[in-house]
């Protein structure tokens, strides 16, 4: 299974014959009048690392808890490995979950925490000891077995929680904001560790997160959620470069949005008039949108070039503005540029040169321009 990932691209969702490991069919969950999850259908395949991404209250955690069996869907069905999960208690599901709060048993040592799940399955004592030792080694906590959870740091607790969920070798591992409580450096190293572990053990992961960066680095696919619905499902690249709506474009990464109308179109191009940009936006492919409908063009900050001189071909995709503010981030700088129409635009530029006298600075008059393939037309 593992070599499938290295030799050819791992994309079971593109294969019409692939059987999904998790099938969520028209699942709705209501709490009283409040609709937490609204008619969600989703297929997740074996060995995927699927991220449910969304803001707080978007229903992502409720969906996860329905997979774990802590909530029952109000309507709809969930299949795991072909089996209908309706009415099946959490302790009978082939699923383990890592909780946001880690939920370690405070009165047990690290070893006993990790061994707990195996004891419930009546695994022989010797085997329990072996498997616990092995999994603690994997999460680099080999020498911490005798400690109690409150004697551990946040990062160590997180790894205990992971080990406890992994030691039963579940077919499906659910992770609720797994890296939420860690500082930035620790998050980054843990992200890569998680991916390595997933590669080694071949487990299917479903991760819930509100952190788009986490979702981008971890996942094979992302499902962006809002108000209980899945807005878009796709690989990180698809989500970032080809968002299907203003919500997704705005939620994942930063984006500059230009409202406008089609003024000229053909099969292989479209030209959009935009009052705020004071220029026409040219896009080098056709768009399926009714003429004269209102639409939006999204342009990512890193795809905009910033120059003092006008670019050579400056009919389309070129706006003038004044630098209003600069945020220096080290590897790059974020420019806030005020267009002549008053609209603020964000542009990021890599700091390629260590020190330069001639960098663009505050109050400079600048040209902003981007390639014909950079704009994304959104109709929603």
């Amino acid at each position: 299974m593992a070599e499938a990932k290295t030799t050819t691209a791992f994309e079971p969702w593109t294969d019409p014959n692939a059987v999904p490991y998790i099938e969520i069919r028209n699942v709705t969950k209501k709490f009283g009048e409040f609709v937490a999850v609204d008619n969600v259908s989703l297929n997740i395949y074996k060995q995927e690392l699927f991220c449910l991404l969304g803001g707080s209250g978007c229903g992502k955690t409720t969906l996860l808890r329905m997979l774990a069996g802590f909530e029952e869907p109000t309507s709809g069905q969930i299949f795991i490995d072909g089996q209908d999960m309706a009415g099946i208690a959490p302790y009978r599901r082939p699923v383990n979950m890592m909780f946001q709060s880690y939920a370690l048993f405070p009165h047990m040592t690290v070893e006993h925490n990790v061994a707990f799940g195996l004891k419930q399955d009546n695994v022989p004592k010797g085997e329990i000891a072996d498997r616990v030792a092995k999994i603690l080694e994997l999460v680099k906590l080999g020498s911490f077995g005798k400690r109690k959870p409150h004697q551990l740091s946040g990062g160590q607790r997180q790894r205990v929680a992971l080990a406890r969920a992994l030691v039963k070798q579940p077919k499906l591992l659910l992770l609720d904001e797994p890296l939420g409580a860690l500082d930035k450096k620790l998050r980054e190293s843990t992200q890569f560790e998680l991916m390595k572990i997933q590669d080694q053990l071949g487990v299917t992961f479903v991760v819930v997160t509100h952190d788009q960066e986490e979702a981008m680095t971890l996942s094979s696919r992302i499902g962006v959620m809002n108000h209980g619905r899945i807005i878009q499902t796709g690989t990180p690249t698809e989500i970032y470069e080809f968002p299907n709506s203003r919500f997704v474009a705005d939620f994942v990464g930063t984006v500059n949005m230009f409202p406008g109308r089609i003024v000229d179109e053909d099969n292989d191009y479209v030209r959009i008039g935009c009052d705020e940009a004071a220029c026409t936006i040219f896009i080098n492919h056709g768009v399926a949108a009714p003429p004269n409908a209102e639409l939006w063009v999204a342009v990512r900050p890193e795809k905009i070039h910033l120059t003092r001189e006008a670019p050579a071909d400056a009919r389309d995709n070129c706006v003038r503005g004044t630098v209003d503010g600069i945020a220096y981030m080290g590897d790059m700088s974020i420019y806030n540029v005020r267009l002549d129409s008053g609209k603020m635009i964000k542009v990021t530029q890599p700091n390629l040169i260590r020190h330069s006298e001639d960098t663009i600075t505050w109050d400079d008059r600048v040209f902003l321009h981007w390639h014909a393939s950079s704009g994304v037309v959104l109709t929603l």
């Binding site: 774990a68 069996g69 802590f70 208690a89 959490p90 302790y91 699923v95 383990n96 979950m97 909780f99 946001q100 709060s101 939920a103 370690l104 048993f105 405070p106 009165h107 707990f116 799940g117 419930q120 399955d121 109690k148 409150h150 004697q151 551990l152 740091s153 990062g155 160590q156 406890r164 039963k168």
Partner: protein, 279 residues
């Protein structure tokens, strides 16, 4: 250190005096040789000797301890069940009713509790023949009905403060609900159960009113004996008994305090260790 003002010192002294002077005078007079409680003659421990010879008092004390023990155990079991229902079952029909009924005995005048229980016991004896007569059993039941409320309040607050996902994690790892309760929930709320047990124990030990209503012949508790003796006139023997009780309670409280302080110190050290060992 900054010098405290005479006002604060005075307030402190007054507060201590108000709280402890009555007990102190009781302790002092328990060592009085004179037969009259209010007249000091000379130091003596003779009333302690008299006390240890006093069969009715000793048997009443033993009965009170037995009742307190049984009551505390029963109250912890019932109170924990109520607390579980209130803290874990979410919304259910009659939740508000259960919640207010469970806490009603906390504010109910003892006379009313005692009287109503007496009426109930009498009626039950007439209709189903149980409990046959009044005695130790009825006192235990009566005490448990009001002290379980205290336990319920204590345990409920502990359950509410506990992270529910700990129980969910145990379920998720394959433990059935009953097992989760025994292996995970109980150990975590054990301190609350212990303090509930101790509270129920002391509540039962010093209850006079309710016990007077529901006791029968031959089941006289210590507070009832003390009360009836005092009505006949103050006796230095009671002073000696009270001093022993105060000493007993003080040692218990002090011991519990020291134990808790030690645990807190250990925990602090563990936290320091975790921070130091964190790379």
């Amino acid at each position: 250190m900054k010098q405290k003002s005479w006002f604060l010192r005075g307030a402190l002294a007054l507060g201590f005096a108000f709280l402890y002077l009555p007990i102190l005078s009781l302790v002092v007079y328990s060592f009085n040789d004179n037969k009259l409680v209010t007249v000091w003659s000379k130091f003596s421990v003779k009333w302690y000797g008299v006390l240890l010879q006093d069969e009715p008092i000793l048997s009443a004390a033993w009965l009170s301890l037995k009742i307190a023990f049984m009551n505390a155990t029963l109250a912890v079991i019932l109170g924990t069940l109520v607390a579980l229902a209130l803290a874990r079952f979410g919304a259910f029909r009659g939740r508000a009713l259960l919640s207010s009924l469970a806490t009603a005995p906390l504010v109910m005048p003892e006379v009313i509790t005692g009287l109503s229980l007496l009426l109930l016991f009498v009626a039950m004896e007439q209709f189903i023949g149980w409990p046959a007569g009044r005695g130790t059993l009825t006192i235990v039941i009566a005490h448990a009905t009001f002290s379980m409320s205290y336990v319920a309040v204590i345990v409920q607050s502990r359950l509410t403060g506990m992270d529910v996902s700990i129980e969910e994690a145990a379920l998720d790892l394959g433990a059935k609900p009953a097992k989760v309760f025994m292996v995970i929930t109980l150990p975590i709320i054990a301190p609350a159960l212990l303090s509930g047990w101790l509270l129920a124990f002391t509540l039962s030990l010093d209850d006079l009113v309710i016990a007077s209503f529901v006791s029968g012949p031959g089941s006289t508790t210590l507070p009832m004996v003390i009360y009836s003796k005092v009505r006949l006139g103050l006796s230095p023997e009671i002073n000696a008994l009270a001093t022993l009780l105060v000493g007993f309670v003080s040692i218990a409280v002090l011991g519990a305090g020291l134990l808790m302080a030690r645990q807190e110190r250990l925990r602090q050290r563990d936290v320091q260790m975790a921070i130091a060992g964190n790379k």
